[in-house]
């Protein structure tokens, strides 16, 4: 899951070298934490959270394929 989020985030931001993605398991499923440069926050969140929502939707589809759940957190 980490690879998918990292690929999308790095492709959207102006500073791909500042993208950090961590992945861990909790009782509900996979948790992915995404960090980008402060000036790139808008690039992964979008107007009214539209980009963040699309990223989560794609992550959910990937999780559905393997029958798990995923939570994508964008950290500031």
């Amino acid at each position: 899951m980490k690879e998918l989020i990292e690929l999308i985030a790095k492709s959207l931001v102006d500073k791909p070298e500042d993208v950090e993605v961590a992945e861990f398991q909790d009782e509900k499923g996979v948790v992915v934490e995404l960090k980008v440069a402060p000036e790139d926050m808008g690039k992964v969140i979008g107007k009214q959270g539209k980009i963040a929502r699309a990223i989560r939707t794609l992550a959910k589809a990937k999780a559905a394929k393997t029958g798990t759940k995923v939570l994508v957190e964008i950290l500031s």
């Binding site: 999308i8 492709s11 990223i55 394929k65």
Partner: protein, 206 residues
Amino acid sequence: MKQIEIEAGSIEEAVKEALIKLGARREEVDIEVIEEGSRGFLGIIGNRLARVRVKIKETPRDVIETTVQEIIYAMGIDVAFNISQSGLYWNVNFEGPDVRLLIGRRGETINALQFIVNMIVNKRLNEKVHLIMDAEGYRRRREETLRRLARRLSERVKRTKRDVVLEPMTPQERRIIHMELKENPWVYTVSEGEEPYRKVVISLKR
């Protein structure tokens, strides 16, 4: 071979040689001069060769193909796709065992993928492109479903004289409902609320 570095007596010669090796025309490549080259003193001492990097420009099709391929692979879903161009639009059409998963509930996943890939492709290219994704005729089937829904609900509004509020839809989907009922003598439609929860409301004409 997508790019090549060539050394020659002058920039001009180096570029010419690179174009021959790449089998490309000048307008199909980006040229980067790495070393200007110089004749040196008396043409003997300190002669430096010119060095250029010549790279074949990526077409919109290349960029779309690479971007979609990368994301589909990272998502681990088993689909194939083809790309076609019609006027200002690029169409990406999917098929394969995981197409239902790719479409998602009411097109949620394919719409998210379309949105993200549009953003990435437009960032990677210098020109503006607009791409539309479809899978095994999904968009046309969805349009037919929405048209039928619009007609059925307009009958209900006419009969009950009460507004009907539809579920949240994308702008394209709301447009289908508006267009279907535009000429209807009994009802009119408006959109209400904020994206992404904007909904069409069908009301009785007074």
